[in-house]
Symmetry: C2
Subunit: 135 residues, 2 copies
């Protein structure tokens, strides 16, 4: 529990790699997968999602690949996580990430309030780290 999913880690690695290149440089999923020994198919999926969420732009065809869209300084880890996992996944408690009623004891729960505060502290941590600070 509490571990980043592999998808997220692969996404971070890939974005960091792209951010480390020269501005506007294009990278293919294959070369990144090879370099870091990441399963190619899986990384491809992640890149597609990052593309749909607007972190990278994709080019199809022979010399296709991905380039970074935004300034790497502005790309925060929290945004990447939430892009790859669909639900607001940096959430410590399910009554926040899903509907409150999803937890059978949400009416009698006494720990929700303190945990929500704790949550916001954690959010800050993830929002402070940008992809650029990882190169």
């Amino acid at each position: 529990m509490f571990q980043l999913s592999k998808k997220v880690e692969y996404g971070l690695i890939a974005l960091r790699h792209i951010a480390a290149g020269s501005r506007g440089q294009i990278f293919t999923a294959k070369e990144i997968a090879d370099k870091y020994q990441i399963p190619f198919e899986l990384l491809a999926k992640v890149m597609q999602k990052l593309c749909k969420k607007g972190f990278v732009v994709s080019y199809q065809g022979v010399h296709g690949g991905y380039i970074l869209v935004r300034d790497a300084h502005e790309v925060k880890v929290s945004a990447i996580i939430n892009a790859i996992e669909e639900k607001p996944s940096v959430s410590i408690i399910q009554c926040e990430s899903e509907k409150p009623e999803s937890c059978i004891i949400h009416t009698t729960c006494t720990i929700k309030d303190p945990l929500v505060k704790l949550q916001s502290s954690i959010n800050k941590v993830f929002e402070e780290l940008s992809i650029m600070e990882m190169v």
Copy 2:
């Protein structure tokens, strides 16, 4: 991902409940389970673990139950989590919570160092909240 396990939540609720009572007061797993609509069997397991880890003392027999051992101010959420989940589970990355080799790409990983720093920030958050602050 990132969600506290139910066991941990139930443990927190139970400890908070005990801490809210008068000093040295004894509580049974059953009454706590009833009060918060927690599955009894599961809570029992959690309490047993908290007992073995020295957070509470158990008394068997008809009027048995659990009482708090330490001063509630000193019982931190991080300690509770690590007691209930055996592995150091407040860990964002598996190469820290388990052996480094457990991650197939640990030799080529470029995000480990920044994530470790992020990790220590998160640890602080969990170490700052004590059970007493939740009553």
